[in-house]
Amino acid sequence: MDLNDLYRDVIVDHNKSPRNFGDLTDADHSAQGFNPLCGDELTVYLNIKDDQITDVRFKGQGCAISIASASLMTEKLKGLSVEDTRQLFGKVHSMLTADAPDIPVDEMGKLAALQGVRAYPSRVKCASLCWHTVIAALDKRATPVSTE
């Protein structure tokens, strides 16, 4: 278990300067997620056109892992189809939790920075909160997602 594997430079950087952070006032999809255990709270906003994510932003507060994960996610989602987003969620989930992930980590691009989370079971929820929240937004679920 190496701490540097969890707090990689990419993570520390995205935590300090989260990308796509803030409101998306004209969002046509949005959802709230929270992790009551650590007090993490995220809102994810989406604009979708012709089944394609045209814009995505998030805001909220949380630990470095959850903020960085959300930031990395927003970078990745822009331009993706709804279907591809759902599939990517599955792959990220597998990378975060499975001993032998479904897909080679090096196909995950920048998201691979999160692979260190797997060694820290109590931190998996932090990394996956934003993803659960995006899926809730796609599903137009009204009640906030909770990961406890």
Binding site: L3, Y7, C38, G39, D40, A64, R123
Partner: protein
């Protein structure tokens, strides 16, 4: 047995015990975690167990395991004597008048639920009020919320000040003709605040309102005497005072317990059952339905023997010095802000560090072998009061020492480096 321990304690109290050596009694502390010797500073969540407690439990299972109260055979008589012996030890430890007033429960949470459901629920209705404080653990909030929802009564909360102390003016103002019950923590698990329970109990008494103290965080740190306090109920957890999990107790004044209907129904809490009528057993058995946590109670008895042999006054003094040193040390960490600055503190210190989320602090110090807790500490309203989602909390027991403080400080420096 407990009297022997008390005697030893009494005779040894003249000189301070060697706290450094006591540490060796705790097997858990003698291990490496992530390559470092374990530095355990999560005592408010649960405490470690001395070998004497672990072997009291194992010994019961190896030699005397039997069900209690209902058997004439030798093992059953031994188990009953040991189980009831533990009740007597606890009675002495908290200064109750009679073992009839000591009800074994799973822990503090169940003890409070018992009072909420068996004492309060039948008594209150719309218009009545229950008074708690802004400092409470969820276990001393939710049971009262549930009773209020079930009966229409309302929950009143005496707010905190900026130091994390209950505003006594608020407490007195909210204690009114409508108040039917008061429940306050003796010591806060989130901030370490010691409540002025003497004044609070007196205020409740003056108005004839019964009062419960949540003592989960008091017993590991200080001498508690329920008769001196003159509270009506006192709730405690074994696992927070160096005993096993799954056991705790409710102290209640006999007159109140007697008037209450039972809480759970089942074996042992009845004296006669027919389908037409059921007569309840005497105190404390009326409130102990089903086979109890026999091994747990016996282990709690062993924990009390252990504490008596050290002496709670010695523990209090030792911890005061340690917590003061920890506060001094923490004040040297740049960007660290203490959450709660109570005048009187026991056990716990909560803090945050600028720009680093508590959750990250927890993970990073753990990599250095330092165990602290991060989050809301089951006291979300305290977090809301300070406008924080979470804090980091270091909490101490008598077996902690200066090296632990040093380790914590170095680990916090490590956190700052990771995010530098």
């Amino acid at each position: 047995m407990s009297s022997t321990a008390t005697e030893i304690a009494a005779s040894e109290h003249s000189e301070a015990p060697d706290f450094g050596r006591l540490r060796a009694d705790f097997p858990t502390l003698n291990q490496r975690v992530n390559g470092h010797p374990l530095c355990y500073l999560d005592n408010a969540a649960t405490t470690q167990k001395p070998e004497s407690v672990i072997s009291a439990v194992a010994n019961y299972y190896r030699k005397n395991n039997a069900n209690v109260h209902r058997g004439v055979h030798t093992l059953s008589e031994r188990a009953t004597a040991d189980y009831e012996g533990a009740r007597e030890k606890l009675r002495q430890f908290i200064g109750a008048e009679s073992t009839r007033e000591i009800v074994f429960t799973r822990g503090t949470t169940e003890a409070i639920n018992l009072v909420a459901q068996a004492y309060l629920r039948p008594l209150v209705s719309s218009g009545d009020e229950v008074l708690i404080t802004g400092l409470e653990h969820h276990s001393n909030i939710v049971p009262w919320q549930m009773v209020c929802e079930q009966t229409g009564a309302s929950l009143k909360v005496a707010a905190l000040d900026e130091n994390g102390e209950v505003r006594l003016d608020e407490f007195h103002r909210l204690l009114s003709d409508k108040t039917r019950f008061v429940a306050v923590s003796h010591v806060s698990n989130a901030l370490g605040t010691v409540n002025p329970v003497g004044e609070m109990i007196e205020a409740a008494k003056t108005r004839g309102v019964p009062i419960l103290l949540d003592g989960a965080q008091a017993l590991p740190h200080m001498h508690v005497d329920v008769r001196d306090l003159d509270c009506d109920f006192y709730a405690l957890s074994s696992h927070k005072m160096f005993g096993p999990t799954g056991i705790g107790a409710l102290y209640g004044k006999a007159s109140l317990l007697e008037a209450m209907p039972p809480y759970q129904g089942g074996g042992d809490m009845i004296s006669m059952v027919s389908f037409e009528e059921t007569r309840y057993n005497d105190l404390p058995y009326k409130f102990e339905a089903g086979t109890p946590n026999i091994a747990g109670a016996i282990g709690l008895g062993a924990a009390i023997d252990y504490l008596n042999a050290i002496g709670m006054t010695q523990i209090l003094n030792h911890e005061k010095a340690m917590v003061a040193a920890a506060l001094d040390g923490l004040s040297t960490i740049p960007g660290l802000r203490l959450i709660g600055r109570p005048r009187e503190r026991a056990g716990a210190i909560s803090f945050v560090i600028d720009g680093i989320h508590p959750h990250d602090i927890g993970t990073i110090v753990d990599a250095d072998g330092v165990a602290i807790r991060t989050g809301h500490h089951c006291a979300m309203p305290v977090m809301q009061h300070f406008g924080l989602p979470a804090t980091a909390r270091a909490s101490f027991a008598f077996y902690n020492n200066e090296a632990d403080i040093e380790r914590l400080l170095r680990a916090l420096e490590h956190c700052r480096n990771v995010f530098a």
